[in-house]
């Protein structure tokens, strides 16, 4: 039963990802992206990582996608009339990846990956949110703090790239 859910989610994720790139109308692409985000959240749920699923929807579908939609609307992007002939390239790359994937799964052998532990046992019944919070502030404190610095750079960078400086407006 779980397998059925996994294959459904995986298939839709793959399909909508391709659609995001292939569709000509940017609004349609963004909506395909939205569908993909939901299904990724679904995958998280199958892994018993409910917190991540919720965060996925709130942050990605709620904030990032909305941002994309705003940008698309503000830039008034029309349908992409010029169509670059990329099918040969896309087919080649796709074939490459498919072959690799087949090789990977075929040659996998019978060893179970070392990280295969059930989430429930891993967090010892502490609840998703609490577990993540614990880990983030203890074991993974270092990347967490560095991530905060990333936010600072992103802010300053965005302002530098996009904002008209006060002097510019006057000029």
């Amino acid at each position: 039963m779980e397998q059925a859910f996994f294959f459904y989610f995986a298939f839709v994720i793959a399909a909508t990802s391709v659609l995001v790139v292939a569709l000509r109308n940017p609004i349609y692409s963004t909506l395909a992206l939205l569908v993909m985000f939901f299904h990724v959240a679904g995958l998280y749920v199958t892994l018993h990582a409910e917190f991540l699923a919720a965060v996925q929807i709130i942050v990605y579908a709620g904030a990032i996608l909305v941002l994309y939609l705003f940008v698309v609307m503000l830039l008034n992007l029309k349908q992409d009339v010029r169509y670059h002939r990329q099918w040969p390239m896309a087919a080649a790359v796709g074939a490459t990846l498919v072959i690799e994937a087949i090789i990977l799964t075929a040659m996998k052998g019978s060893t179970t990956p070392a990280a295969a532990t059930d989430t429930e046992t891993a967090i010892g019944g502490a609840g998703n949110t609490e577990a993540i919070g614990d880990v983030l502030y203890t074991t993974y404190l270092f990347p967490f703090e560095v991530a905060s610095l990333i936010l600072l750079v992103a802010m300053i960078g965005a302002i530098v790239l996009a904002k008209k400086d006060i002097g510019e407006r006057e000029a």
Binding site: Q86, M89, V93, T96, E100, M107
Partner: protein, 654 residues
């Protein structure tokens, strides 16, 4: 004390370089040139002292000047090894170098880049000294590169001239090709011996397999071919004549181009192990000697004739190395330095006298106008032609004799023909330049003047050396130089030739030289109003010699005929045979020259050009991979990943 002097030898020119290079603009030309030749002179004095010491004790000195990279497996020091071979090279480099520096004071007088010239010359001296004095391959290579760089700087000294700039680049690039081979050899040596010091390498040389010895020797040969302008990497040397004449004398005659010969002799232990490599060395030397000589026959620029003659003489030295006559090769290197420097400097004097004219078709009749230059040029010509008792004869004959007595008949033949041609074209040069009616441009003719003492002085010194220098190797195979170099260059295989054979070979060599002279005289001076006594005098000597050996029968035949028939015969002989011969030889020479030029242009150049063009072509094609489109780039990443993944997975399956 000697060790200190050894360390000082390269330091004096280095000091001059630093002073002249950095602050040269602040002081006058007088100070600059005094620093320049003064430093070389001091180096020469140190060399003499060191030489005397080695003469007395016979033990080589190994001196570490500066520990650069040391410890464990890899030890590279700036260290010097001074043994008899080094001594000879040092004497040549500092001695001849000193004379040329003094000469340059006069030649470069009034030039704007006077100080720059001397800075480069001193830099060259430093590099060349490092090259010959180093005790390991790294110092050798540093000197090797340094002389290449200075050659580039000095050939392109007149940087305003496009031809000079092109010639400089050509020299550097062709040299670089040789350097690649040399680098490979150094690494092969390191792989096999785990050390780069000469003494340690040569001690273990017997452990090499024949194939490895051949490989190393051939790679070293590639380096020598590039630096010493042998086939097929000789094309840069004639073009290098674009530089000022003292540069041609010092770098492209006496010292830098001989570095290849030095390197082979230094590594003779490796070459001795591989008969294949020796054969290749000999053949290349012989072919070059012959080939370059044929080209020299028809050149019209005075410096080019000398350039091709240098290539040819270097061929002799390389040939000598190839047949195991290392001492002979070094001996010829030394004498060649004397007379070639003399010839170049005299040519410079001629050019100077004619206000820059270098085409010998526009010369003639200069012997009376610039007598000292003429006389010294003559001395040099006689020396290079290999006419005894001047220096060139002894060294060249020794190589020829060695070839003959050790059954290298083909090489002997090539060398002998080359000697004949050498004599011929050198005398042709002197006849066209100094004899006959003046074909000079009138303006130049008015200003013809003998060069100043500062230029003629060194010429005289070199003249004396060209006359007397040969006696260092007298008697052949047992002269002073043979004993001196024996511990380093190895004693050649037992010289079991009889004195009679030795004398015969000497006579043949002389005969060849004189034949060349005679023929040149006939061709270029028959119609001149030049004092016949000189020609007649030498003609008689030539005739006498010939009489003694092969002409008796011929003349007997002629003499039995009645006088009338003799008259008619002589007349017929004169009109058809000799003139026909003249025409035939001229045509042959033209053909050879054209053939050589064609070979040079289409085969050698195209070979080198193919490599260069191939690079450019590849560059242009591969450049298109950078299309500018991001998705292409991403595709390249993915494609690359895929390839690498396949390689890894294949490897992991095995």
């Amino acid at each position: 004390m000697t060790d200190l002097l050894i360390k000082l030898i390269p330091l004096f020119p280095l000091l001059a370089v630093i002073l002249n290079g950095l602050v040269g603009r602040r002081y006058s030309h007088e100070v600059a040139h005094r620093l320049a030749w003064g430093s070389v002179g001091l180096s020469f004095l140190c060399t003499i002292s060191v030489f005397v010491d080695i003469l007395r004790t016979g033990t080589p000195h190994e001196v570490i000047a500066y520990q650069w990279i040391f410890g464990g497996d890899l030890t590279i020091n700036l260290a010097y090894l001074v043994d008899p071979l080094t001594c000879i090279m040092l004497l040549v480099v500092t001695g001849v170098g000193f004379l040329i520096h003094v000469y340059s004071v006069g030649y470069m007088h009034g030039e704007e880049g006077f100080t720059r010239f001397f800075t480069y010359m001193n830099l060259f001296m430093v590099s060349m000294l490092l090259l010959v004095m180093g005790n390991n391959y790294v110092v050798l290579f540093i000197g090797w590169e340094g002389v290449g760089l200075c050659s580039y700087l000095l050939i392109g000294y007149y940087y305003d001239k496009v031809s000079a700039a092109k010639a400089a680049s050509k020299a550097f690039v062709v040299n670089r090709i040789g350097d690649a081979g040399f680098l490979l050899a150094i690494f092969l040596i390191f792989i096999n011996f785990k050390t780069l010091d000469y003494t340690k390498v040569f001690a273990q040389v017997s452990e090499l397999s024949p194939e490895m010895a051949t490989a190393i020797a051939l790679c070293l040969l590639v380096g020598a071919v590039g630096k010493s302008a042998q086939l097929p990497l000789y094309t840069w040397l004639p073009d290098a004549m674009e530089g000022p004449t003292p540069v041609s004398a010092l770098i492209h005659a006496a010292t830098m181009v001989t570095a290849g010969v030095y390197m082979i002799v230094r590594n003779h232990a490796i070459f001795d192990l591989s008969t294949t490599a020796m054969t290749v060395v000999g053949i290349i030397g012989g072919l070059t000697a012959l080939f370059a000589a044929t080209i020299g026959l028809v050149q019209t620029d005075i410096k080019r004739v000398l350039a091709y003659s240098t290539v040819s003489q270097l061929g002799y030295m390389i040939l000598g190395c190839g047949i195991g006559a290392y001492t002979a090769a070094i001996f010829h290197l030394m004498t060649h330095a004397f007379f070639k420097a003399l010839l170049f400097l005299s040519a410079g004097s001629v050019i100077h006298a004619l206000s820059g004219e270098q085409d010998i078709r526009k010369m003639g009749g200069l012997s009376s106008k610039i007598p000292w230059t003429y006389r010294l040029f003559l001395v040099g010509t006689i020396a290079i032609a290999g006419i005894p008792p001047l220096a060139g004869f002894w060294s060249k004959d020794e190589i020829l004799a060695h070839a003959f007595t050790h059954d290298h008949y083909l090489l002997y033949g090539m060398a002998a023909i080359g000697a004949f041609l050498t004599s011929f074209y050198m005398f042709r040069l002197i006849y066209l330049t100094f004899y006959g009616a003046s074909r000079m441009d009138h303006h130049a003719e008015e200003h013809v003047h003998e060069s100043s003492t500062v230029m003629v002085g060194p010429l005289m010194a070199l003249g004396v050396l060209s006359i007397l220098g040969g006696f260092m190797g007298f008697p052949p195979e047992h002269g002073w130089i043979h004993e001196f170099l024996a511990p380093v260059a190895g004693v050649g295989e037992g010289h079991d030739a009889s004195t009679g054979l030795v004398l015969t070979l000497m006579m043949i060599a002389t005969g060849i030289a004189l034949l060349g002279w005679g023929l040149a005289h006939y061709f270029y001076s028959v119609n001149s109003s030049m004092p016949d006594r000189l020609a007649a005098q030498f003609q008689a000597a030539y005739a006498t010699l010939l009489n003694k050996y092969y002409v008796d029968e011929l003349y007997d035949l002629i003499w039995v005929e009645p006088l009338k028939k003799l008259g008619y015969l002589l007349d017929w002989f004169d009109r058809n045979v000799i003139d026909g011969l003249v025409r035939a030889v001229a045509q042959l020479a033209d053909l050879a020259a054209a053939g050589s030029t064609w070979l040079e242009k289409y085969v050698i150049y195209s070979g080198l050009n193919v490599i260069g063009y191939g690079n450019h072509l590849a560059a242009r094609q591969w450049r298109q991979l950078q299309s500018g489109m991001v998705h292409h780039y991403a595709a390249i990443i993915v494609a690359g990943l895929f390839l690498l993944a396949v390689i890894i997975q294949l490897f992991m399956q095995l």
